[in-house]
Symmetry: D2
Subunit: 349 residues, 4 copies
C-alpha cells in the first residue's frame, strides 16, 4: 500500500505472522471480510503456516521477509509470542506496511518505546488488538457511560476469569502472565471506559492451582486496586480456573446508578427440574465469547486503513497497558502500592 489511506476500492492485502492459537481466527476473519484478503501466512512452523495458508488461498513462509518485500501486501497481523512482536513491528514499519499487533505489544517497556519511535518516524498505521473494546456489550456500556447514564463514574469492577491456564510453554515466556496476558485487557478497559489514567496500583496474587496444572508456579489468581487520576477506584480480579467457563463481567458504578455488562450465554434455555432451575454454563473461552469482537476489531482496522484515519487503539495504549501490568507485578512482588505517572512518558524514557 503505497500511501496509507488512499487504497481506493481494492481489497486490503494481509500478511499474517503467527499461525498458532489466535492466528487462524484472524485468518478466517480476513477472508470473510468483504474488503480484505489474506496473501501470506508466516510461521516458524512451516506445516502450521501451510495449513492456514492453504485454507485461505494464501502463500506460506517460515520468515516474514518475502511477505514484507511483497509490494502487494498492505498490512501485517502479528500474533506471535510477545517477545517477537517488537522486531516484527519494526520490520513491518520499515517495509511500509500497516501493523495490527496482538497484545501485549511486548513484555518490556524499552522495546515498546523503540517501536513507538519507529512507528512515528515511518508514520505507520498501528493497531493493538484490545479486542474487548469491540465486544458489543462492553461497547454498549462505554456508550452508556459516555451518555452520562451513571453520571460521574466512582467505581469500576472488572472480573476477568479464564476457564483454564494457558499452555506451560506460553506461560513460561512471562513472569506474571496473569498481569501481562490477562489483566492487561482489563487495564486497557479501565483506561478506555473511564477515559482516565491510573495514578496508583496495588496488586496481590495467589497460587491456587497445584503443580500439575501450573508447573511453572506462576500466579494464577490475582486482585488489584487502581486509583485513577480523576478519583475513581477500580478493582480487577482474575483467575486461571473458572470451572464454569470464561467469566468476563464489568460493573460501572457512578453517582446516578450502575451499569453491568454481563456474560452472554450460549443459549437462552432455562431448564426447570426437581433439583432447581438450570441455565447453560458460560461460553468456554475468549475465542467463543469474543468471536464478534475479533471480527469488529479487524473491520475497524480495515476501515482506518481505507479512510487514512489513525487506528483507534495505538502504540500509546499498548505502552500504557504494559506499564500498568509491569507495576502490578512489582506491587505483587514488593507488597507495596506502586505510583504511576498519569501524564505522557518523560523524554528520558
Amino acid at each position: 500500500m503505497q500511501a496509507h489511506g488512499s487504497s481506493g476500492s481494492r481489497a486490503i492485502n494481509f500478511c499474517l505472522v503467527g499461525a498458532g492459537f489466535i492466528g487462524p481466527v484472524h485468518a478466517a476473519n480476513v477472508t470473510a471480510h468483504p474488503r480484505a484478503r489474506l496473501r501470506w501466512v508466516v510461521d516458524l512452523n512451516a506445516e502450521a503456516a501451510r495449513r492456514v495458508a492453504t485454507k485461505h488461498g494464501a502463500q506460506s513462509a517460515t520468515s516474514a521477509d518475502a511477505a514484507l518485500a511483497d509490494a502487494a501486501v498492505d498490512a501485517v497481523i502479528i500474533c506471535t509470542p510477545p517477545r517477537t512482536h517488537a522486531p516484527l513491528i519494526a520490520a513491518a514499519a520499515r517495509a511500509g506496511k500497516a501493523v495490527f499487533c496482538e497484545k501485549p505489544v511486548d513484555l518490556d517497556m524499552k522495546p515498546v518505546m523503540d517501536c513507538a519511535k519507529i512507528l512515528a518516524a515511518t508514520r505507520t498505521p498501528f493497531f493493538v488488538g484490545f479486542n474487548r473494546r469491540f465486544d458489543p456489550n462492553h461497547r454498549a456500556l462505554f456508550d452508556a457511560m459516555g451518555n452520562g447514564e451513571i453520571g460521574r463514574p466512582e467505581m469500576l469492577i472488572l472480573s476477568s476469569r479464564d476457564p483454564e491456564i494457558a499452555p506451560p510453554d506460553y506461560i513460561a515466556t512471562m513472569s506474571h502472565a496473569i498481569f501481562y496476558d490477562t489483566m492487561i485487557h482489563d487495564f486497557d478497559m479501565a483506561r478506555w471506559l473511564l477515559q482516565d489514567e491510573p495514578v496508583e496500583i496495588f496488586a496481590r496474587t495467589a497460587r491456587m492451582l497445584d503443580a500439575k496444572d501450573n508447573p511453572h508456579r506462576t500466579p494464577d489468581t490475582a486482585m488489584v486496586i487502581l486509583r485513577m487520576a480523576r478519583g475513581a477506584l477500580v478493582h480487577v480480579n482474575a483467575s486461571f480456573r473458572a470451572a464454569y467457563g470464561y467469566d468476563q463481567r464489568i460493573e460501572a458504578f457512578g453517582e446516578k446508578g450502575m451499569i453491568v455488562s454481563r456474560n452472554p450465554q450460549p443459549t437462552t434455555l432455562e431448564r426447570y427440574g426437581a433439583d432447581g432451575i438450570r441455565q447453560d454454563r458460560l461460553l468456554h473461552f475468549f475465542v467463543d465469547r469474543y468471536a464478534d469482537s475479533y471480527v469488529r476489531e479487524l473491520d475497524a482496522f480495515v476501515q482506518a486503513l481505507e479512510r487514512g484515519t489513525v487506528p483507534s487503539i495505538g502504540i500509546e495504549d499498548g505502552r500504557r497497558a504494559l506499564m500498568i501490568a509491569e507495576a502490578a507485578m512489582r506491587s505483587a512482588e514488593s507488597g507495596a502500592p506502586i505510583r504511576l505517572a498519569p501524564g505522557p512518558p518523560q523524554p528520558s524514557d
Copy 2:
C-alpha cells in the same frame, strides 16, 4: 359481635371449623394477628381439633354448635371440605357470626345461591379466601394495570401448576378438581385483574398421571381459553405435577407492553459450576408460596370487621368463580365452548 363494625378496641374472636390441611395455617395467623384471637377449633376429628386448639389456647369441639352459641365469638373461618361449606355458612349467618370461607364456596350453584340469600337477609359480613389476590407480586401487577401501565389489556396468560395431586380422598369429592379446586383461583384472578367478566369458555383436559398417582382418573392437566366481555382473551393452563415445584405465573399483555408476575424463589443464590448455572427449585406448594397472602387476607377480613366495611371478596365473587369452573367442566366434557352471561344472575336462578 353484636353489631358488625362496632367492635371497638377488643380483639376479634374466631372459631375455626376444619383442623385439616389449611386450618392450622389460619389458626396460626389468627394467633399472630395483633387484634385477633382463636377461641374455638371445631373438627369431626376430635384429636385434630384438640391438637390445634391446645397449640393456640382455644377450646375444641367436634360440632360447631357450642361455638356458634358462644356470644363471644365474632367470626367463623370455614375450611372443611367444599360440600360442607353451605350449611356451615347458613348456621353461622343465623348465629350472627361473620364468615371467612375457603374456596370454593360450594361445588354446586344452588347452595351458593341459597347462601347468598341468607347472607343478604342476615347482613352477614362474608369473605371468600381467594388468597392470591393478596400475594404481593400479583397485587403489584394489579396495581400496575390499574395505573394503566399496559394500557388496554389484550391478553392474560395464567400458569397454575401444582407440584403434586391432592390426596385421593379429597380429589374424590369433586368431578373436576382441576377446575373446581385449582383453576377456580385463576378464574377469580382473571375477573379481578381485568375487572371484567367472561362471556365464553373453552376447556380441554388430559390425564397424564398414571393410575398409581391418580387412582380416580380425574383430569390432571388442563388448558382453557376465556373470552371476556370487553374483548380480552385469557389463557389458563394447569397441571397436577410440576416436577420443579409450585409454578404460579401471570402475564398481562396490553397495548403498551407486558407485565409478568414471576415466581419468587427460596433464595437468591446462583450457583455456577461445570454443568451450568443453577438456581433453587421453586417453593414447594401454596402454603410456602402464599404464606404472606394468607396473613394478608386474614388481616383484610379483620379490618373489614373492625371498620364495618364490606369484605373485599364477597359471595358474588365466589358464585362467579364457581360458575366458570362449572362451565369449564361442561366444555371439557362436551368438547364445545360454553357461553357465560356476563351480567348478574337472573331472578329465576
Copy 3:
C-alpha cells in the same frame, strides 16, 4: 444442476424470486455462503430486482423464465407473496430446479396438493422456510426434548408476538394473516417439537388495533388450543403489537420438568437506576431475531442438495401447517373446535 445430489465441489447457483422484504436477506446469505452463488434476482419490480442483483453480482429480470431456462441455475428461492408460490414451484420443478419456498406454501390446500404431486413426479428437492426450526435456542430445546429431559411432553406454550402489523397491502392478501402468516410458524413448531400431529383446534381472535393501524380489520390478536394425537395440549397466543419488540418464547412442560426457550436480548446490559433495573427491549423483529436461523436454514438446504438427501422440511410439512391454519380460521369464525385428521391426506383430497 443436472442430477440432484451430484453437484460435486462447485457452488450451488441460485435464482431468487422476490426482491422484497425477506428477499435481500436470502440474497445476502447466499452470497455469504462459501458454496452458494446468487446468479439471478427476479422481481416484477425491475428496479428492486436490479438493486439486489447488482449488490451481489447477479443478473436481474422481471420474469423467472430466463432464469429457469438457465442450465447453470441449480435452485430457486421463492419469496414472493403466497398466492404466487404454487405456479413458481411448478415451473421450477418442471425446469429441474430445486426449490426453497418461503412459508406459507400457499393460502389454499388445492394448489399445495397439486404442487405435492408435481414435486413427487419430478423428484424435485423441496424445502419450506420454517426458519424457527433453525433458531439455536429452539433447536437446543428440541434436542433437550429428544434427549428425554422433560420425559413425556404434556403441555407446550408458544408466544408469538410481532411488534407491528404487516403492511396493509400484504395483510389484504389473506383473510387471517395471524393464522396463515404468523401462527403457521407455531403450528409447525408444535408438530416438530412434539413429533406429533394435532387432532383438534380451537381458536379465538380479537381486533385490538384501531382502524388506523389495521385498516382491513384483520384479526390482530389470537389464542389457540391444540390437542395432539398423543394427548399433549398446546397453547399458542399471538399479537400484532408487542410494544416491547418481537416476543418469541416456547415453554415445554413434561412429566420431569419444564424447559423454556426465552428471548435473546440485544445486549447483556443491566442498568440500575433510581427507577429500577432496566434491560434492553427485545430485538425488534424476525429479521433481527432469526438472522442466524436464515443462515442455517439456507445451509441445511445447500447441504441437502450437495449430499442428495431429502431436505428436512418438505411439502408435507407445508401442507400440514396450512391445514392447521385453515382450521384455526374456521374455528375462529364458527366459534366451534375443528377436528383434524392426524393421518395422511385422503385420496379424494
Copy 4:
C-alpha cells in the same frame, strides 16, 4: 436472670438502651418474639424512650440505672452510638445481665479489650449484632460453602453499598464510618464465610459526594483487598450513594465454581415496555433488606440464653472486625498495606 441458661419457660425480659434508628426495630422484634418481652426502654431523649416504651407496654427511663437494678431484667440490647457501648456493656455485665450489642462494639481497641475481660470475669452471655450472618441468602451461601460446593475458596467479592450517607451527627462520631460502620459487616462476613483470618489489608478511599451531602468530608467510597491466612483473596467495595437502593452482594469463587448471593427484590414483576424490560429498584436500606435477619439474630440470642449456650457471635468477633476496620483506616491514610496478626491478641494488648 439469676443463672444464665436456666430461665426455664418464662419469657426473657429485655431492656433496650437506645431508642433511635434501629432501637424500634429491636423493640418490635422483642415484642413479636413468643418468648421475649420488652420491659424497659432507655434513652437520653426522654420523649423517644417514652414513645417506644408506650408502644410495647414497657417502662421508660433516661438512664439505664433503674433497669439494670431491676431483677426481672434478663438481658440488655445496646443500640446507642458506638462510643457509649463499652461503659454500658460493663455496667450490664456487672449487673448480671446478658448483653446484645450493636456493631461496632466500640471505635477503639482498648475499651473492647476491657469489655472482653469484664465479660469473661462475669461470665456474661454476649452477642454482637452482625445481622448479615442471619440473612437467609447469605446463610445459604455459607451452608453451600460448608458443604464444599465450590471446593477450596479462592476469592471472595463483597459489594456493600448504602443508598445514602448516615446523618451528619452520626457520621461525625467516627473518622472513617465507611470502615467502622459499613465495611465492618463485610470484614465479619469474610471471616465467617471463609472461616479464616486476614493477614493483610490494603484500603483506598475517595470522597465522591459533595459538601452538601457530606459536610464532614468523611470518605464515602472505598475499596479494600484482604489477604487471608489460608491464601484466599478478598475484595470489598463500598459506597454511600447507590442511587438504585441498598446493594449487598457476595460472590464466592473457588476451585469448583462460584456461588453468588444476589439482592432480593421487592417484587418479582418484570415490566416490558417500549424502552426495555424493567424490574423494581432494590430494597431501600438495611431495615428493609435485613428485616428477617434482625428477627433471626434476636431469636438466636434468646435461644442461647434459654439453653445456656454461648451466643454465636462473641466479643472476639467484635474485636477482630474492629481491628480490621482500624487497619483499613490506617492503610487508607498511609497508603500502605497493613499486616494483621491472624492469631489471638497478645497478652500485652
